[in-house]
């Protein structure tokens, strides 16, 4: 394996900066790989391609977190159509309205400051 010039996370974040939800694909395993890493967990090969998701998915699991201070908020696991799952949240609707099975669409959330962009989702109907 050649010396890495950019980490998997840095590549992922660079795509997010550009408004793209990126993931890896392992041609040898014929399967998506997420979270991004330096080798494929199925084959052990370092041959991993970067691909861009179309940004559509389905809510797989959902909860409303009730912090001691501040309003409740959603945390969800999203099954992205290209075949990988990720943690995120669904915005633009009340947290308790997020239901398993609803279709959602990716958008970039930019917290500002030193925080990197992160992928959030909104219901497809309002997209």
């Amino acid at each position: 394996m050649d010396k890495a010039t950019i980490s998997p996370l840095a590549t992922y974040l660079a795509h997010l900066e550009q408004g793209r939800l990126a993931y890896q694909f392992s041609p040898d395993a014929n399967a998506p790989v997420f979270f991004p890493r330096v080798i494929c967990p199925t084959t052990g090969s370092d041959r991993l391609e970067w691909r861009t998701s179309a940004g559509f998915g389905t809510v797989y699991a959902t909860t409303v977190v009730h912090p001691q201070n501040g309003p409740p908020y959603n945390v969800a696991l999203i099954d992205v159509d290209e075949g990988f799952r990720m943690m995120s949240r669904v915005e633009d609707i009340q947290p308790e309205q997020v239901q398993i099975g609803i279709r959602v669409q990716f958008r970039v959330h930019r917290p500002g400051g030193d925080e990197p962009p992160c992928p959030v989702f909104i219901p497809m109907e309002t997209a």
Partner: protein, 385 residues
């Protein structure tokens, strides 16, 4: 992976808790380990100078085996500080069994200590930043298990009331255990009306935050027969680690307990039907339901109806978490050691008001991380050999 271990190849001979609940100010996790070790050695009639194997884990000491060796003055001890969360101690049982069989040690101590109530949960267990989860502010570990609960309820119709019944059963057991933290009765309505944490869980669906520690002493079968207590034999062991973060758990309704249990049952030559009591790591109410399914006590998805009507409570057909569990007895961060202690006490007939009559076999199931590291140990009395 447990193929090299022999059914009944080693025995647990001593068990003890350290101080529990809220311990004295400035007690350290290693102080609590030492308390547990001293009491567990007294339980079986061995002394510290007999100990030549140390198996330990704590989130509050980066190199816990080193700290423990220094504290105890055992420079030549065989050490193993494998740490995979709350199931570390069930894995230590398998590792200690292997070390005893290989002649690496003859008297193994498995020990834990935590002062998380005294120092605060955040200070006791610093959470690593995860770039794929932390930005979404999951309240971990509760949010991870809550996500799994959302799936279990969605796929199988498990109800809010069924989850609450697990907490009620644990509380009923705790009221029979003088060492338990919780002392007041609890109802299903109380659980549901409690402060919400991460839906569907309220604070009463979540394990306690206490201090505590303890120790378990293991040795060879030959040596076990010369000691004070009736030996409790390790009949089966298994483990499976399916993921580290909830985002990458393959199926949120099925845990590695399926594989860990399969290995342990195969080694023991048993099935769930042969088990008298179950000590299952109940970090959250959902855990008890899912582990009963995954360990074969009922079919997948039927855990909710299975636990209903007091089946796992005192007097029920299937005694589960007979000490009151992590939900009502104690939960000092990584609870797995206490499952072993309670199972041994029941198998010896030392359960007092909570003793199960004719208890000859126990399944102990440890859970680490967020349904991540699963480890099963099957224990039995002399009669099961």
């Amino acid at each position: 992976m447990m193929r090299g271990l022999q059914r009944g190849g080693a025995a647990i001979v001593g068990v003890a808790e350290s101080d529990l609940g809220a311990v004295a100010a400035l007690m350290s996790p290693i102080d609590l380990m030492a308390q547990g070790i001293q009491r567990a050695l007294a339980d079986c009639g061995l002394t510290l100078r007999d100990v030549d194997g140390l198996f330990c884990a704590t989130t509050q000491a980066r190199t816990s085996a080193m700290s423990l060796v220094e504290y105890l003055g055992l420079p030549n001890a065989y050490t193993d500080s494998t740490i995979v969360g709350g199931s570390s101690f069930e894995i230590h049982v398998a590792h200690a069994m292997a070390a005893i069989a290989a002649g690496l040690c003859s008297v193994a101590v498995i020990t834990y200590g935590s002062t998380q109530r005294t120092v605060g949960r955040r200070a006791a267990s610093v959470r690593e930043y995860n770039p794929y989860e932390t930005p979404f502010k999951p309240f971990l570990p509760a949010t991870a298990y809550a996500l799994a609960a959302s799936r279990h309820m969605h796929q199988y119709g498990t109800t809010r009331e069924q989850l609450a019944e697990v907490a009620v059963a644990a509380r009923q057991w705790a009221l029979l255990n003088p060492a338990a933290w919780e002392k007041k009765p609890l109802t299903v309505a109380d659980v549901i009306a409690a402060r919400p944490i991460s839906d569907p869980f309220t604070v009463r669906d979540c394990c306690l935050v206490t201090d505590g520690g303890g120790a378990v002493i293991m040795t060879s079968v030959e040596r076990a027969k010369t000691l004070k207590q009736p030996p409790i034999y390790v009949l089966g062991c298994g483990q499976s680690i399916t993921h580290a973060t909830i985002s990458f758990m393959p199926d949120l309704t099925v845990t590695g307990a399926v594989e860990a249990g399969r290995q342990a049952y195969a080694m023991a030559g048993m099935t769930a039907k042969d088990i008298d009591i179950a000590e299952l790591y109940d970090a959250f109410t959902l855990n008890t339901i899912m582990f009963l399914e995954d360990l074969g006590f009922c079919a997948k998805g039927e855990g909710g109806p299975f636990i209903s009507g007091g089946r796992i409570a005192p007097g029920g057909a299937m005694p589960v978490n007979t000490n009151g569990g992590g939900l009502s007895y104690c939960h000092p961060g990584m609870y797995g050691l206490f499952l072993l202690i309670e199972a041994v006490r029941q198998l010896r007939g030392e359960g007092g008001k909570r003793q199960i009559d004719g208890c000859e076999t126990a399944i102990v199931h440890g859970n680490g991380g967020v349904f991540s590291a699963q480890s099963t140990v099957i224990l039995g009395t002399q009669a099961t050999l």
